[in-house]
Symmetry: C2
Subunit: 557 residues, 2 copies
């Protein structure tokens, strides 16, 4: 052992917090709670059980909402020498099958409510159907989903969660796995190589097969410290798990909150009642897509908070309306930007006191930008699209569109089993996000659009984000998505899907008039569809291809 | 360039803060102040000037109080590829000579008030006398030291600070060096190898000769993030520079406060008036030896603070009286422990809410312990003394004495040009502090004694052996022992027991004068006891605990 070197690993954070604050509450989940000593002991127990089943480097998949077992797995799986694969709970059976087979998962842990998906995988056959399943039974399952869920198919899953009952696949209960864990000394909270993989996260690619994004112990450690720094985590932190842990490992927050010895408040599903109950119980921080912000702001339970709450949000810029409404409730909203490939957030819209004096709309415009590299990250760049050899920055004029590229310890090890895609993504020594944006004179980047979401109408580029922001600035609009549809005359035309506030009688004409007052005429959608909700990924990104299909169907009628 | 790796370096922190908060005040120093943009620009200017003078890896020495130039040098010297050697301003000329020669410094920057020391080095001759000197003239010099200093020899130094005037050594003014800096593009805020050296700090060793402790970019980066986390630095931080930057690079705080984009408030000397003026101007954090705590608590200006202040203190546990007095003023005191070899603090006495209910004395006893490894450190151990092969922990009973050993990214690269001492210090894969302590059942360590016989007085390490050697160099002294005794103001003070030659009439005053000619003033014992013989073991080792009892009895009389 070398006296003056330790391989960086977030495992150290749980070792430390359990040693220093053994009796502090680490995890709350309904009626269950764990102290830090218990958290560490559970991680050791699970790790020992896993060690008896897997070889070093094996992938271990989890299909579960934000339950303590998944949080514990963020430590237990790497502690056992494995690589955690946290699956999106909304995936269809064939998607889960693909990931299990691509990752060659040695084990699948599944929440009892998600066994319908697992059954679906079993029915599809193939190697995925042979992966042994460990069933997590969570007493909060019924409580969280409420009466409505009691009749939903998934709620019957616990009954099918008995060992070895479905499709011939070995199934055992999580509790039994732990009970059967071998005794023995604790596993060391350390790794030999800080660049070894810790987790594997599959991107929800809007097109094609999902890619496996490999994270390292070093990257997870540094990003966790960065999150703790920017979110301001300390021992008094009560972090509410509204952001799915399966999304970029919850932006490394399982490790960050643990480093600060704060308290994790778990949550199976983001619904207004339980979220507001948690806020009233002293939650200090939460993260999530703008949807989470809307749910909090629009809830019947909404009221001015006694203690301050900080929401870190990503996926799309929070609308000025939402920011103002949350601010009135005593909530500070911080906007960040990142991707699965960079461990979640990479940039943060750092607040400048000089903005205090700006008119509300100008201030909102500043706040809606994606910002600057975090303390553990590097400086983000916006470069000319396609210029791979010798990346060339676009002018920092806030107008010239380019591709956002990132680099450093925040960037993934690579795409699992896909060296070509990795090489392509890392061309020129920078990770190419595929996101288009501009660089402002103050060094803040702003996302203008995903490359494929630009609408080109009559030869003009229309940023759908710009149009969306214009529409959502109407006080009666809750949510919006703008897409491009083929148009015989203009090549493409913008089409808007709008969710109105409840009881709003807003018409397309009125809304068009509002937008016309804000944008050039060619950007104003001629076609506006009102809808009750927008199809989204679990991470809050609108599924625009579904809207395109919908618009095509509408157009054909 | 690799897309997914950056060598860790604290240089990144200044690059980022200057890019994100260019107009925020980074440094205040009397009537001078620097924004973050100016801070970075000054670092670039100085680095470019240095690049024209030094080769990569060259050592650049600074002899200066906490002035902006030294803070800037913490970035500029490594930016230029050099290694910063920040010298203790209280060192005697022959000590500075030794360090300049051992480090083979290419340049010496000296504050004009410290030119008497530099003149002393010139007079001693040898290679140190040939090191080119750059003179820093600080307009705050007079203001800080007050009227008394105006008549002191050092105050005449600015006059001797004119280029090339003393002892034939090349001297130039800092301002001229900067003016002459070559133009050209900015140097990159990055390094190729994160394990390359960034600074070299000399300790007062036990053998008399100071040892050079090498820090790495990686260690400085991680420790800075750890300091920022534990002290809670953020953009609103106003950090008062009471801790000398020449002590373990101010515990990595030049980099930590910069990472958080807080404001550095510089200070030439720790005096009650200026300190309290700064506190009233909204200082949020400061660090220092218990002396600093005493100065603040005992000042005539002391009053209840409007905004909270956190003091992080080390060197000796703060006394319960001081903690209570500071608490009454609205000051939170946090106790940390470390050594030069571990970048300053390694453990922190983390507060436990369970202590709230303890009686005051029991609580004070808890708070006086050295605590647990910080978030970026490893777990501290207390091991059986002397058991190098296979370190064996002493029982965690709060009673069994052992040696405190530490490891990980907090530990120095090694002793400069002293592989044997490095190997000895790193025996068994752990850094041996030489400090004796106990492990409490709750995992907190407590220092019981300095095995190395170091006296820590006013935050300065005094090697008792060095003082003993100075005393025994007097022809009428036969034997001597120096011990540290608790001191309300200085933490500890050196006390000497001296055996005179028979018939010698040597007085304490004469002996003091002799020692003062050899050592820095703070090392000279104010208390000298003459005795007929020293208590010793059969092997001739002085029984210092018996002397301590004797000194305590003398003091009680």
């Amino acid at each position: 052992m070398q006296a003056n070197y330790s391989a960086l690993t977030p495992l150290r954070f749980l070792e430390r917090s359990a040693a220093v604050f053994p009796d502090r509450t680490a995890i709350e989940h309904g009626s269950r709670s764990y102290t830090y000593a218990e958290f560490a002991a559970e991680a050791q127990r699970l790790a020992k059980a896993l060690r008896a089943r897997i070889a070093p480097g094996d992938r271990v998949a989890f299909l579960a909402p934000n339950v303590p077992e998944l949080l514990i797995a963020h430590f237990a799986v790497p502690l056992a020498g494995g690589v955690l694969v946290a699956l999106n709970t909304r995936l269809a059976a064939h998607e889960v099958k693909y990931i299990l087979e691509h990752s060659e998962a040695a084990l699948l842990f599944a929440d009892a409510e998600l066994l319908a998906t697992v059954d679906g995988v079993a029915e599809l056959g193939g190697p995925a159907a042979e992966v042994p399943v460990v069933v997590i039974r969570d007493a909060e399952a019924g409580a969280a989903t409420g009466a409505a869920a009691a009749t939903a198919p998934a709620a019957t899953a616990p009954a099918t969660g008995a060992p070895g009952d479905a499709a011939g696949v070995v199934r055992e209960l999580y509790a039994d796995l732990l009970t059967g864990a071998p005794e023995g000394p604790d596993l060391p909270w350390s790794v030999d190589d800080e660049k070894s993989p810790i987790t594997l996260n599959y991107t929800s690619g809007t097109t094609g097969k999902p890619k496996g994004v490999l994270y390292s112990h070093r990257g997870a450690y540094l990003n966790a410290l960065g999150e703790a720094h920017h979110q301001g985590f300390d021992g008094a932190t009560r972090y509410l798990w509204t952001l799915p842990m399966f999304h970029c490992n919850g932006w490394c927050t399982p490790w960050a909150v643990t480093a600060a010895a704060g308290t994790h408040v778990c949550l199976r599903a983001v619904r207004p009642g339980p979220v507001w109950a948690a806020l009233d119980d002293g939650v200090t921080h939460l993260c999530g897509a703008p949807t989470v912000c809307s749910i909090i702001a629009d809830a019947d339970e909404a009221h001015v908070l006694v203690s301050p709450l900080r929401i870190t949000t990503a996926g799309a810029p929070p609308s000025p309306t939402i920011i103002r409404r949350l601010s009135d409730l005593g909530v500070q909203v911080v906007h960040v930007y990142g991707l699965t490939e960079v461990y979640g957030p990479y940039t943060i819209c750092e607040y400048q006191t000089a903005w205090d004096g700006l008119p509300a709309d100008e201030r909102a415009a500043k706040l809606s930008r994606q910002g600057v590299g975090m303390v553990q990250a590097e400086t983000a760049r916006v470069v000319e699209v396609g210029a791979v050899d010798g990346l060339k920055d676009v002018p920092a004029d806030g107008e010239t569109l380019g591709e956002i590229v990132l680099r450093g310890n925040n960037v993934m090890l690579g795409y699992y089993k896909d060296p070509e895609a990795t090489e392509r993504a890392f061309a020129g020594g920078w990770f190419h996000t595929g996101d288009l944006g501009v660089m402002h004179p103050d060094g803040y980047i702003q996302l203008k659009d995903r490359a494929k979401d630009i609408v080109i109408s009559g030869g003009e580029n229309i940023s759908t984000i710009e149009v969306e922001q214009a529409i959502v600035s109407h006080p009666e609009v809750l949510d919006v998505a703008v897409i491009g549809m083929p148009d015989a005359r203009w090549g493409e035309r913008p089409v808007a899907f709008v969710v109105r506030a409840s009881a709003s009688q807003l018409t397309a004409e009125t809304l068009s008039g509002h937008v016309r007052g804000l944008l050039a005429g060619f950007k104003v959608p001629r076609e506006i569809h009102f809808t009750d909700e927008l199809p989204k990924t679990s991470t809050g990104k609108t599924l625009k291809h579904e809207l395109r299909a919908l618009a095509a169907a509408e157009g054909a009628r």
